[in-house]
Symmetry: C2
Subunit: 169 residues, 2 copies
DNA sequence: TAGGTTTGCTTCAAACTTGAACCAAGCCCC
DNA sequence: GGGGCTTGGTTCAAGTTTGAAGCAAACCTA
């Protein structure tokens, strides 16, 4: 089958996306690195933990929520633990499991960093869009995520997807 | 000034974007790594070079076009050079400068990899969108790029922006 | 035209990411 | 209840990215 190349419109859209997403991630990483001493992903880990009732999450659930591989999470949590922002406990019900818990210090760091982060996200993205565009953004990328998570097993098993399991609180 | 937190709509849009962009980059990196033995960025370097009349570009122009820092480009080109896909020449008019040139082998690798890459981009993104959404995507991210490149100097000088210079062909 | 600044690019060490093992705990099932 | 498979998580080596220096060529400007 002969390749369906991208049309000029599609090219432009794809390239605009690539360029902007690189710039955006760089901007956010830089801002958080400056103000909180950690890259975006690490901030997101703290943020995710802070949103659960007990401020704790199993490693696998965390990795799945963040859409990252498990080795990557292990490394990141190790660093956060070394900094005292997260603590690791082993899961009682499943002795293989381990649980990341947000410490008070981690919560404090998160709260200190949040305003600057939100401000950056607004300045770089959200405040540049109309409410209509915000809606479009959500729709487009929700559909992309569904597509990428849905097709698993078809070609190239993705390492993220995991069945859910008790939070082990 | 009290922080303007993200509204629920904005939250959802932001998170949808973050999740999808991670999945998307992972998918594309994995596909290119498999079929071309290189990550997306390295493929983009080859692609950018292939689009110039002489298949050559100054390092700085390349970095600016790709929205990456120069050390990152230096490293990447070094690897591509080691693989014989790119050659480095020094610029005649400006002896500080150096120019990356796509070799025939590099061109061949690029052409071999392109169909699979386009197929992946379509499957993961483009073909999941309506033409209208493709247009929206372009508009949204073009505006983001303009915003991020425009504000330079305001806060935190970005290391990409460089005045243009002769291609040194 | 000497001296200081800027520009183009590389180098370096430290941090991060990746994919492939690896290990131990649960599961299955005869 | 002893193999064999799966699952949850870590470890390891190799590759990549980052930011801060470093270095030399070009560009002032007096």
């Amino acid at each position: 089958m002969t390749t369906r190349w991208l049309s000029p419109d599609e090219q432009r859209a794809w390239r605009a996306y690539i360029a902007a997403s690189l710039l955006l991630e760089d901007t956010i990483d830089r801002q958080l690195q400056q103000e909180a001493g950690m890259p975006h992903l690490y901030y997101s880990i703290l943020a995710n933990l802070s949103e659960t009732p007990e401020r704790r999450l199993r490693m696998t659930d965390l990795a799945e929520g963040l859409k990252i591989t498990r080795p990557r999470l292990t490394y990141a949590v190790a660093r956060l633990e070394k900094d005292g922002l997260v603590r690791r406990e082993s899961c009682q019900w499943d002795k293989r499991g381990s649980v990341a818990v947000l410490t008070d210090e981690g919560m404090a760091v998160l709260e200190r960093a949040a305003p600057g982060h939100v401000e950056t996200v607004r300045a770089a993205l959200i405040d540049r869009l109309t409410p209509e565009q915000v809606r479009q953004l959500e729709e487009i990328f929700t559909s992309v995520t569904e597509g990428l998570l849905g097709e698993e097993g078809a070609s190239g098993e993705m390492p993220w997807r995991r069945r859910s399991s008790p939070s082990c609180s």
